[in-house]
């Protein structure tokens, strides 16, 4: 029996949430991202409204480029807690239609509604019901793809944005995919697309028509995967995840920097942020990863798995700094750094410590800091190292939350 999978993708999510709280922004080109600073800003566009897209603005674009294309746009800095709250409300609606909801990111999710069809009707009806609920309860719109598997559902949801609904009947996946460009295939980025183009493959249907072995010989294991996807074959289950997979923060420097002290302080500040969010989510991270991007966009990541999960900057920072320190090269400026905690554990479970030092003391300190920031805002308390004049790292990535 064919499964019925829905992919629900919120339309211009951050921008739509902003429009909802500021109706006067409706119909205007709205760009959510870091501060453009009159075209000199260095972060990226997190998302933008469909009006802004008409000017060529799109997410993940450098904010300076967006500014050039759309100087009349309304630029808003992201308010992640607000989007997270809106996301939670949407996800709760989805859970009314199936237990099997896999949240992929803040604004998209897969649902396996195979078992709910008797209750709510076929895939298309469930998709309509979900769209209506999101519109009436949340005053937001979503695009939904309905298919027999995750891959085809995802392609379908993206086809008629915004407010789209595309249903692919079981058995007609290959037919549906055939005219689409190969870049729609999962795992086909610019490089693979160029390689495929070199051998004359531009449409998904052309790949589906090839012999499986030919693709395996040419692309190895990935070739087999390409062939399966091109025919609309994908048997991955919808796997509900509990909570976050990772918690991280990164920041792009105002100006590429070689200043080791600034890197150190910024990293410490990022470690604080990550630790705070871990604690707010009652989680601890067993794995600490860092991201390090140089001026020419060469990007390095390093990770370390700890013997015991961490949720204080005292534990996280030394690990992160140890990894970052080894990547710093004289004469090479750094554009971005970030810290990620993954392999998350619940804070209630786990290994207890033998000594009241340093973790437990750090944790008591952290709890006190959390309490103060909850009451008086993020800027109420910070480390002395981070307040010396001219040293305060400025954050302008899509991770910024604006204190209210």
């Amino acid at each position: 029996m064919a499964r019925t999978i829905l992919h629900v993708d919120m339309d211009a999510f951050y921008a739509s949430v902003e429009e909802r709280s500021h109706p006067e922004l409706r119909g205007k080109p709205l760009i959510v991202g870091s501060d453009p600073k009159g075209g000199k800003g260095r972060g990226i566009v997190a998302t933008c409204s469909y009006e802004a897209r008409k000017f060529g603005v799109h997410s993940a674009q450098p904010i300076s480029q967006a500014w050039r294309m759309c100087p009349q746009g309304i630029y808003v800095q992201p308010d992640m807690p607000k989007y997270a709250r809106a996301s939670e409300c949407v996800m709760r609606i989805l859970l009314d239609f199936s237990d099997l909801v896999e949240q992929v990111s803040i604004d998209e999710a897969f649902l396996d509604v195979t078992g709910s069809r008797r209750l709510f009707g076929d895939g298309a009806s469930i998709a309509r019901k979900i769209k209506n609920r999101i519109r009436s309860d949340q005053r937001l719109t979503a695009s939904v793809g309905v298919a027999a598997n995750k891959f085809v559902a995802k392609v379908a949801s993206d086809l008629r944005k915004p407010d789209g609904l595309v249903v692919v009947e079981p058995g007609r996946e290959a037919e549906f995919l055939a005219p689409l460009p190969v870049s729609r295939l999962w795992g086909v980025g610019g490089k693979t697309a160029a390689l495929l183009k070199d051998i004359g493959l531009q449409r998904i249907g052309q790949i589906a028509a090839l012999d499986r072995r030919y693709l395996v010989d040419r692309f190895g294991k990935g070739g087999e995967h390409l062939w399966e996807l091109s025919r609309g074959m994908d048997d991955r289950p919808v796997a509900p995840e509990e909570g976050y997979k990772s918690i991280g923060h990164e920041t792009t420097f105002e100006k590429d920097t070689e200043d080791e002290r600034l890197l150190h302080d910024t990293l410490l500040w990022l470690a604080e942020k990550v630790a705070q969010r871990l604690r707010a989510n009652h989680a601890r991270a067993r794995t600490i990863a860092i991201k390090f991007r140089e001026a020419d966009f060469s990007t390095y990541t390093r990770r370390k798995t700890l013997s015991v999960a961490a949720d204080t900057s005292e534990e996280i920072f030394p690990q992160a700094w140890n990894m970052v320190r080894r990547l710093i090269r004289r004469g090479v400026a750094v554009r971005l750094i970030g810290i990620y905690g993954s392999n998350l554990e619940s804070e209630r479970a786990g290994q207890l410590a033998l000594f009241d030092q340093p973790e437990q003391k750090d944790r008591r300190l952290a709890a006190a800091v959390d309490d103060i920031t909850r009451r008086y805002g993020d800027s109420a308390i910070t480390r002395a190292t981070l307040v010396s004049p001219g040293r305060r790292p400025t954050l302008n990535g899509p991770t910024r939350s604006i204190p209210k």
Partner: protein, 369 residues
């Protein structure tokens, strides 16, 4: 410099110093060893600036001299030469070394000996510690040393040498291994305390090997000196404050369980197969006469093991990281062990039952589920 040496003699020494050589050293000279041919012997020195080893073997020295060559290259050459071969090493111009044996011939790049760091010397008297005693103690604490580089002062074991007692302690913040032995140490007037780096302990074990010998020991402000047979090891003292370990020795653990070390080890090992990959905990449930161990993982399934124990008293439940207990049971060296507990939140202590060679205590913090 020119010397002839037996392959087997040289190989043994080169093997001993490989552990000290930094694999990814950023300072090229530290990948090299210093060779010093003098009299009837060739001395070999290796260092990573934290730990240095000086050893050597008998050789037929044609021309005295010193030079440095890559430790790894020379080791690989000597290792791969036929077993009973004789090796001839000659210093060439510009710090090159020629190595010849039978029909094999190598030219190896070296570095000027002037660049090789000088190794601290100690000229005072050394305290003698039986090698087997030191080895037994190191084996009982080594596994408890943290592997996390960032916890600097825990990257080694505390060694305390008093006139009538030797003691070692190591911890990673979650379990603590404490071993001591009463013995007379001549020349020790006040207690000598030092944090010995993990790497140093590993190298000492290697240098002692299976030999019955006395190890000479001394410390100055920054260094530890060990003489082991005709070999010497110099180590930097680990800086920092070792935690107050006396404080965590439980004094109110009123529930005392005696179990067979072997049965306990095997049961924990089996139960651990089913422990959650992330949490890695095994739940211990003690009732009169029985110890039940259970583990479960949402993905994998469950395990339940029961062994008979000597225990009369109230029941108690506690969770432990199975690996922590296995580490102890693997080295404790006694037939039975005594596990003393108080409740599910208080550290447990496990010791070998009477008749053990050492006063050995192992303290483990529980896990919460």
């Amino acid at each position: 410099m020119l010397f002839n040496v037996k392959r087997s003699a040289l190989l043994g020494e080169l093997n001993l110093v490989q552990g000290v050589i930094e694999k990814k050293s950023t300072i090229p000279i530290l990948s090299n060893i210093l060779l010093d041919a003098r009299g009837e012997q060739v001395d070999i020195t290796a260092t990573d600036l934290d730990v240095s080893i000086c050893c050597g073997c008998g050789a037929d020295v044609g021309e005295e001299g010193t030079m440095t060559v890559s430790a790894r290259r020379l080791f690989d050459i000597v290792r791969l030469l036929p077993e009973d071969s004789d090796i001839r090493c000659v210093q060439l111009e510009n710090d090159w070394m020629e190595v010849r044996s039978g029909n094999s011939e190598f030219k190896v790049v070296g570095l000027p000996r002037e660049n090789f760091p000088s190794i601290p010397e100690f000229n005072g008297p050394l305290v003698s510690i039986p090698g087997s005693l030191l080895k037994g103690m190191i084996q009982r604490v080594l596994f408890a040393i943290t592997q996390e580089e960032s916890r600097y002062s825990l990257n080694g074991a505390l060694l305390a040498l008093a006139p009538q007692e030797i003691r070692m302690v190591a911890t990673d913040g979650h379990r603590l291994s404490l071993v001591s032995k009463a013995a007379q140490f001549e020349g020790v007037e006040t207690e000598i305390r030092a944090l010995v780096p993990r790497k140093t302990l590993l190298e000492i074990l290697k240098l002692i090997g299976d030999q019955e010998l006395l190890v000479g020991f001394a410390r100055d402000e920054n260094h530890l000196f060990f003489s082991i047979g005709n070999r010497r090891l110099v180590s930097r003292v680990l800086a920092g404050q070792f935690p107050n370990y006396e404080m965590v020795i439980p004094r109110e653990n009123d529930k005392s369980v005696t179990a067979s070390a072997k049965m306990l080890l095997e049961a924990i090992r089996r139960a651990a197969v089913m422990s959650d990959e992330k949490l890695r905990a095994v739940r211990f449930s003690v009732t009169p006469g029985n110890l039940e161990m259970t583990a479960s993982s949402a993905d994998a399934g469950e395990a339940r093991e029961v062994i008979g124990i000597e225990y009369e008293g109230a029941g108690v439940e506690i969770g432990f990281n199975p690996q922590y207990l296995l580490d102890f049971l693997g080295v404790c060296g006694s037939e039975n062990v005594v596990l003393s507990l108080r409740d599910g939140d208080t550290q447990g202590m496990i010791t070998p039952s009477a008749g053990s060679d050492f006063d050995y205590r192992y303290i483990v913090m529980p896990m919460k589920f």
